[in-house]
Every structure is written in structure tokens, then in C-alpha cells.
Symmetry: C2
Subunit: 231 residues, 2 copies
């Protein structure tokens, strides 16, 4: 009943549109919604075609299989992530401000694009077997890596950051602090009996992440180690 695309004969209200790219995009959008909410096995092809308002034949005309469709959605997810992270403007900023910005924006991406989280979780449940088939993914971290190294180097030079920080480990931590909070918000809310989704909680979390990362970067390193390695 929605009036987006209706296949009809010549003059009537909605002519059948022939735009393969736009159609594929509609299918991919519908597929993303379905895969992100239900996971790979829970997702139903019938649900996708209903959402996209296309016939089943058309879906299989454009995509070979459910799995290929899933991989395409996954690639799209990574593309979103890459685009959003590329947008983070940190050039020319003071290193502390730049790092603060990086933390906040990384968190914000996960808030704005919640499908990213469930898609990545689903893919990790499958032990990365689909992503391994896709060559597009690798470039994700490149641009970001350069930025992070630059910020760290500048901060080090200015004497505000400690030395010897592993940028990969750092980036994993920056992601982790926001990602886990959002990814596991349902079970966490249950355990703590606290609503983690309202805007106030989100803002508090964001501040907490910045606080933690900057504390780490600006502290002397190994601040206390009175206990030997614990088995």
C-alpha cells in the first residue's frame, strides 16, 4: 500500500520502474535490517523480499543466494564504518583534543549505526568465515591507523602522552568500551537493573570512555605493580 514502487501498466498511477541499482539497493537495505535483527540463520529471505517489496525471483535475479546477499550486506557494513571513521576530523588538533574526539566519534558511530554491531557479532559467531571470502575489507583500518599514530606521536613529542603505546591495542580498547556497552546493553540492563539506553546514560558513558582513555594515555605507565604476575 505504500506508494513507493508499484508495477502497473502504462498510464496508471505507478509505472514499473526499471532501475537495477536502486532495486538492488532496496534489497540490500531490507536485507541489512533483517540480518542485523535476526542474525544469519534467523533471517528469512521471505521477510527480506516483503520488506523490499520485490518478488522472490527478482532477489535471486540480482543475488545468487542468501549467503551472497549476506556477504554484500557485510561489505556494506564495513563500508559504512570506513566512511564514518574517515570523517573524523582530527588533523591539526591538539593531541588530547584529537584523542577525545576520536573516542567520542567512535562511540557515536556505534550509536548511529546499530546494525554495525549486530552484523559484526553475527560474523564473529560464524568465526569470520564470510569476511574471509571478501577482499574488500582489509583497507578499513588503514586511514585510521595513520591518524592514530600521528596523534600518539604528537602527544608523545609534547610530553602529554606516555611512550610506547601500541596503536592497535589502543584502538581495540577505544572501540571495546563503547561497543560492549551497546552490544550487551540488554543483558547488562538486566543484571544491573539500570537503563543503559536513555540519552543521559549514553552521555555519561561517553564521558567515561574519554576519561578512561585519556587517563591511560596521560599517566606515567605501569603506575602500580606491587603484585607479581598472578597465575
Amino acid at each position: 500500500m505504500s506508494s513507493v514502487t508499484e508495477g502497473k501498466t502504462k498510464d496508471k498511477g505507478k509505472p514499473r520502474i526499471r532501475d537495477a541499482i536502486q532495486t538492488q539497493d532496496r534489497i540490500l537495505t531490507a536485507a541489512q535490517a533483517e540480518f542485523a535483527r535476526k542474525g544469519y540463520d534467523g533471517a528469512r529471505v521471505d521477510a527480506i523480499i516483503a520488506r523490499a517489496k520485490v518478488s522472490k525471483n527478482l532477489l535471486y535475479h540480482h543475488f545468487r543466494s542468501k549467503e551472497e546477499l549476506y556477504i554484500r550486506v557485510l561489505e556494506r557494513t564495513y563500508e559504512t564504518l570506513r566512511r564514518r571513521q574517515g570523517d573524523i576530523p582530527i588533523a591539526g588538533l591538539d593531541p588530547v583534543d584529537a584523542m577525545k574526539r576520536l573516542c567520542e566519534d567512535t562511540f557515536q558511530v556505534f550509536i548511529d549505526e546499530p546494525d554495525v554491531i549486530t552484523m559484526l557479532n553475527t560474523e564473529n559467531l560464524h568465526r569470520g568465515k564470510h569476511i574471509a571470502k571478501s577482499p574488500i575489507i582489509r583497507s578499513l583500518y588503514d586511514r585510521l591507523s595513520v591518524s592514530i599514530r600521528a596523534i600518539l606521536a604528537e602527544g608523545e613529542k609534547q610530553g602529554v602522552f606516555r611512550k610506547g603505546i601500541d596503536p592497535v591495542e589502543l584502538y581495540i580498547s577505544i572501540s571495546a568500551l563503547g561497543y560492549f556497552y551497546l552490544s550487551n546493553r540488554y543483558t547488562l540492563s538486566m543484571i544491573f537493573d539500570r537503563d543503559l539506553r536513555n540519552p543521559a546514560s549514553i552521555e555519561r558513558r561517553k564521558a567515561h570512555i574519554v576519561d578512561m582513555i585519556l587517563s591511560y594515555l596521560t599517566s606515567d605507565g605501569e603506575p602500580a605493580a606491587t603484585l607479581g604476575p598472578v597465575a
Copy 2:
């Protein structure tokens, strides 16, 4: 073929065992392996009965449905978590050592019980709908909460920890830093082209987590905020 519990009627070789509890436990163990690896929708009842070496009807004799079985496994997962976290010996320790221990052991639980991670991820994909049906879960955080507050209070009293730390936010962060690293290790390994699973990487991560949490706790708080809130 394992000879753990062999039911013996008088003497004969392969008697049918009648031990409801042990059988249920075998089913639950098999179900956990299946659910943890495949997720709820990907898990197959047939795979569970094959693993548990029981007939299908026996499974349905003990459990009402796939969903009930899943919930029982989920409860078991939480029980594991609760037991393991209760084991963490922090009483009487210096607050810094206690916190270090807490970080390391929290991470270690996720390493030792990898099913916990996938079960929680699966449950969060389903937006906690099953856990909501289960009354057993709530007590999880209680014991831990008391410990954390005690450590924080002592550290504060001694002047080594900053004031005003939210124990819930802190615990989420401690969990996040290890959980995300393990949960997303497949996609992360892909992006960074680095093996995150070998023992050396794991140990490095563990040290990093301790470092970060202790830096946060022992720093002055709000160490740098030259930039206003970023939209």
C-alpha cells in the same frame, strides 16, 4: 565411550542407563556446545541429540521445547559466570593488587569459558527476551558489587584511587576490554592482520587491561578537557 558413569544392571555389557539427572546434564552440555557455536536459530536439535547420544523424544521428555532448552543453557551460563566470579579472592588485599586481580580474573573467565561470550551475544541479539523470562539471573552482580565497592572505598581511603567512581560503569569497562577483544577476535584479526589468539597476544592484552584500568583509577580524574562537548 567415556566410562564415567556406566549404569549397571546386574552384569551385562551395555545396559541402558536410567539416570535422569545425568542424562539431562549430558543434554544440557551438548546443547550448550551447539547453541554457543551456532546461535539460537543456527542450532539444530538433531545435532544436540547426536552429541548427547540420546533419542529425540528423550530430549523432549526432559525439556518442553528448543526454547526452554536454550533458556536452561543460558541460566547455566550465568551460573558459571557467577561461580567463577565469586571465586575471585580479593579480600584482605591491597586495593591496587585487588583491582589488578579482578581485571585479570575477569578476563580469564572469558578465556576459560568461551561459550559465555557467544551465549551472551546471542541473547543480546534477541534483545534479552529469554533472559527476561528467567528469574534466576538477577543475583549475578550482587556479590561482585560488594567486592568492587569495598576495593574502591579502601583505595579511596588510602588516597591511591580517585573519588567518585561509578562501580557499575567501572565493571562494564573491565569486562568490555577483555570481552570485546575475544568476542570480535575474528573480524579484528582480519582488519589488523594480527593474530590475537596466541598466548603471547592474550598475555599482552591482559597487561594492557590492567594498565588501563589502574591508570584510570589512580589518575586525578578529568585530566584534560580543553575541548568543549563535541556534537
